[in-house]
């Protein structure tokens, strides 16, 4: 075998190793219990992903600028980088920051995921996507809440 052939073989073996294990069912509340108690977005991201270094790119979040009813704030994760493995939704309007964690399975389409959040007051919603290389990408939207979400 010439050198090029040997190198090609080596790379394909490494790649196969990385993707051999498909993502099994994961409950992030059990895997990363500390992250769910954190009171700041930065700390929750660190406890969830092991780093709080994030790049503001590759993610698109849709959330209303003004939410009359903080109890029901529609948030849509419009898109994330193609090789995203985990998506986290955080906010700084409630006592704890982490709202939801979505592991991306092979058949999960990581776009147009819509949820409704409960925001106690005005704040920002942050969606973080962790790609296969471990890097974090994010987008954030500020939401002004005219009527708090945890009343009554």
């Amino acid at each position: 075998m010439n050198r090029r052939e040997v190198l090609k073989l080596g790379v394909s073996v490494v790649v196969a190793g990385l993707f051999a294990k498909s993502l099994e069912a994961k409950d992030f509340r059990k895997e990363k219990p500390a992250a769910w108690k954190d009171k700041t977005i930065k700390k929750a991201v660190k406890d969830l992903f092991g780093t709080d270094a994030m790049d503001k790119s590759g993610v698109e979040v849709k959330a209303p600028e003004i939410a009359e009813n903080g109890a029901v704030v529609p948030v849509t994760i419009k898109s994330v980088p193609a090789d995203t493995k985990v998506i986290a939704v955080l906010q700084d309007a409630d006592p704890e920051s982490l709202a939801m964690v979505i592991p991306v399975h092979p058949r999960t389409v990581p776009e147009d995921i819509s949820i409704r959040l409960k925001l106690k007051k005005s704040g920002k919603v942050v969606v973080v996507a962790q790609t296969a290389d471990g890097k974090l990408h994010y987008d954030e939207k500020k939401v002004k809440v005219t009527m708090g979400g945890c009343g009554g």
Binding site: L23, E24, A25, K26, D27, F28, R29, W36, A71, V72, V73, T76, Q91, D94, P95, E96, L98, A99, M100, V101, I102, P103, H105, P106, R107, T108, V109, E111, D112, I113, S114, I115, R116, L117, K118, L119, K120, G149, C150, G152
Partner: protein, 101 residues
């Protein structure tokens, strides 16, 4: 109090779009305290189809009451089923299958 699941799945061009609601009070610790009740909210959701996990999420007290979810997954054919399973903080579970239209 049973957790009720109401989901609809529509397949188009090889992708199934799902919209659904989980009937649950989603009482945060704050709200529970004020109402003199126990905090309880959906903590985990798993959607399977054809033996695969197609959507999964760990959730918190910060999702709205009777939370609505919209998501998509690859594959699934009209007539096949997908199954939604949820768990809440107090250990209640619910599971229901729905047809893909």
């Amino acid at each position: 109090m049973g957790i009720k699941l109401r989901f609809v799945g529509k397949e188009k061009n090889g992708v199934t779009s799902v919209k659904g609601m989980v009937k649950h009070p989603m009482l945060s610790y704050d709200q529970a305290k004020r109402q003199g009740k126990k905090a309880n909210f959906i903590t985990y959701m798993k959607v399977t189809q054809g033996g695969d996990v197609v959507f999964e999420a760990s959730t918190s007290q910060f999702l709205s009451k009777n939370p609505i979810f919209k998501f998509k997954f690859k594959g699934g054919k009209k007539g096949e089923k997908f199954t939604v399973y949820v768990e809440d903080l107090l250990g209640n579970k619910a599971e229901k299958s729905f047809p893909i239209r």
